[in-house]
Symmetry: C2
Subunit: 141 residues, 2 copies
DNA sequence: TTGACCATGTCAGTAGCCTGACATACTCTG
DNA sequence: CAGAGTATGTCAGGCTACTGACATGGTCAA
């Protein structure tokens, strides 16, 4: 007897959709979208990263990322040179204002994430993370 | 010592993004998008459901759902009356062609889902499903 | 050195989904 | 019975992300 509908994929979508919604709500006062937050977050972890690499890390196309970066540059949260020192990649970095915005956003996002995981024991949290990692591994390539 | 970046939210996004991508690839030969598949899937489970309820179940707005339903109606995969017998809700149902398309799509999607879960034991699969359910529960309202 | 190959950035066009707003139909309370 | 409240469908407009295409710069093998 098999399931008529394996619920894992649906649950994944449901959870991600809700997480995105709550994050969007939380970040609204800062006038940041989830995508913009992800971008700033990754920029702190990898200063000087190229826009294309940033795009891959945040699951959008490089075209979308460049459009988003332009907005963030206009708001002075991010900076990058107009010409590459070498190659074509333009190394992008956080500005001071960008780092400040990220700090504020981080607190709000952490709250949402804690809320999401509040019903899980440490072991269950671990099992969830491990399960997701396995799914990711099985799906890539 | 706390994590600089709690990876669960990111892993959730990563997994969902990959799953969506693989499903999109798998459904391409049928000229169906993931959203359309989700819509058909839900329609089989709940024949006669309203477009608004369908929208909630598939995590889009009712405006988007109505636009999508119009496409599916044009392709004769879905049908619904032009007037409601009672109230405003227009009960939507699968056509025979829609059921056939869903059957074909189901096989492909099941393959993707199995691939995603292929690295997990039954217990780990269970723990993942339970963890996601807990996250969903904690995040709604 | 040269030519294939790949990565990056950019331009143009398209599609999907969203928010905001409104009319309609039912329900429920006073 | 009158009114508010809720749910559904629909129209209009806008924004975001996508695909497709191209030029540029670097790498690597022949």
């Amino acid at each position: 007897m098999v399931n008529t509908a394996p619920p894992v994929g649906y649950a994944l979508k449901h959870a991600q959709s809700l997480l995105h919604l709550r994050m969007e709500e939380a970040l609204k006062p800062l006038h940041l979208t989830v995508s913009q937050y992800s971008c700033l977050f990754r920029l702190r972890r990898e200063p000087g990263i190229s826009a294309a690499a940033l795009a891959r890390a945040t699951f959008v196309t490089r075209q979308s990322m460049n459009a988003m970066l332009q907005q963030l540059i206009d708001r002075d949260l991010v900076a990058r040179p107009s010409r590459a020192r070498t190659g074509r990649a333009l190394p992008t970095v956080l500005t001071v204002a960008g780092a400040d915005a990220l700090d504020a956003a981080q607190k709000l996002v952490d709250g949402v994430e804690q809320r999401m995981l509040s019903g899980l024991s440490m072991a269950a949290n671990d099992a969830l993370a491990r399960g997701l990692a396995s799914c990711i591994n099985s799906l890539e390539e």
